[in-house]
């Protein structure tokens, strides 16, 4: 709670009160702590209870679904992977469906890396945060990392992601064992956690006009393309919505 309050004060006056950690280890644990203080740890726990239960229903082993959380680390991709593999789809179909759902990770990684990279940063140090990038980690890293000195950002963000991954792992195991006892409505409510938390957390992060415009345009263009059965609907909606928002903002800035 204290940490959350301090972040808010810092956000109001960014030039004056940046915060720092005494060491990289302290930064890692600072990130880990902030992960458990944010709603995402609990949203991820709930989401992965759903994914663990799904894996149980389709007869995957607990070890397999746990490894899929570590390696894939993307909720929607894991839902697709488990339900299509379990449903007996062709491997190539599964790979394509998972690949299409992962497109969102590309612009997220591209926009996060420059914030984490300082003049002293070695390239290999960015490999772990790139793998850790998922909506939850991206939203929190984009919000908090710019508030601290650049050399603390990588350990801090690795700490956030480690906290989230731990919550997801606990959720996966719990869901796997609870699967047979979960009522249908609860499973539905767990699946609703992803879109609901994405919407409010991205709104919170959108302090700039360009981000707000992009959010609204994506929400409108996405369903239009999806209902018209346009291939790669999510990718086109993102490129169109993001570009229109950027150009509109650029014109506005030009006029000022």
């Amino acid at each position: 709670m204290f940490l959350a309050v301090r972040f808010r004060i810092v956000r109001a006056m960014p030039e004056l009160a940046r915060f720092d950690f005494v060491s990289n280890t302290a930064a890692f644990f600072g990130g880990f702590r902030s992960a458990w203080l944010s709603v995402f740890a609990y949203v991820l726990f709930g989401t992965y209870v759903g994914i663990g239960a799904l894996a149980y229903d389709f007869n995957f082993s607990l070890a397999w679904v746990t490894w899929s959380t570590l390696l894939v680390w993307a909720g929607p991709a894991q839902v697709i992977l488990i339900s299509t593999l379990g449903g007996g789809a062709q491997l190539i179909e599964v790979a394509i469906a998972v690949g299409l759902s992962g497109v969102r990770l590309l612009p997220m990684v591209v926009s996060l890396m420059p914030i984490l990279r300082g003049p002293q940063t070695r390239t290999w140090q960015l490999l772990l945060p790139a793998h850790f990038t998922a909506v939850s980690m991206w939203v929190e890293s984009m919000r908090l990392a710019p508030l601290m000195p650049v050399e603390r950002r990588i350990p801090f963000c690795n700490g956030i992601a480690s906290g989230y991954m731990m919550a997801a792992m606990i959720g996966t195991v719990a869901g796997y064992y609870l699967a047979a006892r979960l009522p249908l409505l609860l499973t539905a409510a767990l699946l609703f956690l992803t879109p609901m938390s994405f919407l409010v957390s991205i709104t919170r992060n959108s302090s700039l006009l360009v981000d707000r415009l992009a959010l609204i345009l994506g929400l409108v263009i996405g369903p239009i393309l999806a209902f018209r059965n346009v291939e790669l609907d999510v990718m086109w909606a993102g490129l169109a919505g993001g570009t229109i928002a950027y150009v509109a903002d650029r014109i506005r800035r030009g006029l000022q």
């Binding site: 390696l71 894939v72 990770l105 890396m113 499973t187 956690l193 992009a214 928002a245 950027y246």
Partner: protein
């Protein structure tokens, strides 16, 4: 040999059709990010694209709901989403309040609105 192969096969599948097709986007992002500086115009555009992509993903998860969520009527899903957003605004932009409000409305709505 055959025992080892059959025990490892699910993990080979996990790497080939789960890990690789998803991770390739992170690696591609990793490579493309190399020439971009913090505070550059390109970064502003990429972030806008990332935000719009996520917005499209949100809309898709609501309109084309996966699994058990599809058993809740679309009208309830939409009202719950709007209620969650309103809860977020009303309770001083708290993500927790938004998610809790949305979930409460979804569960209540699923009880009240008869399934088609």
């Amino acid at each position: 040999m055959s025992l080892t192969t059959s025990a490892l096969w699910p993990y080979v599948v996990l790497i080939l059709v789960g890990f690789l097709p998803n991770e390739i986007w992170r690696w591609l992002g990793f490579v493309l990010a190399r020439g971009i500086d913090e505070g550059s115009e390109v970064l502003l555009w990429v972030r806008a694209v990332a935000t719009a992509v996520l917005a499209a993903v949100i809309a898709k998860l609501i309109f084309f709901a996966p699994g058990a969520l599809a058993t809740v009527p679309l009208s309830v899903r939409l009202v719950a989403m709007v209620a969650g957003f309103a809860g977020f605004i009303v309770f001083r932009r708290s993500v927790f309040a938004g998610v809790a409000t949305g979930e409460a409305v979804l569960i209540l709505g699923a009880f009240l609105v008869p399934k088609l």
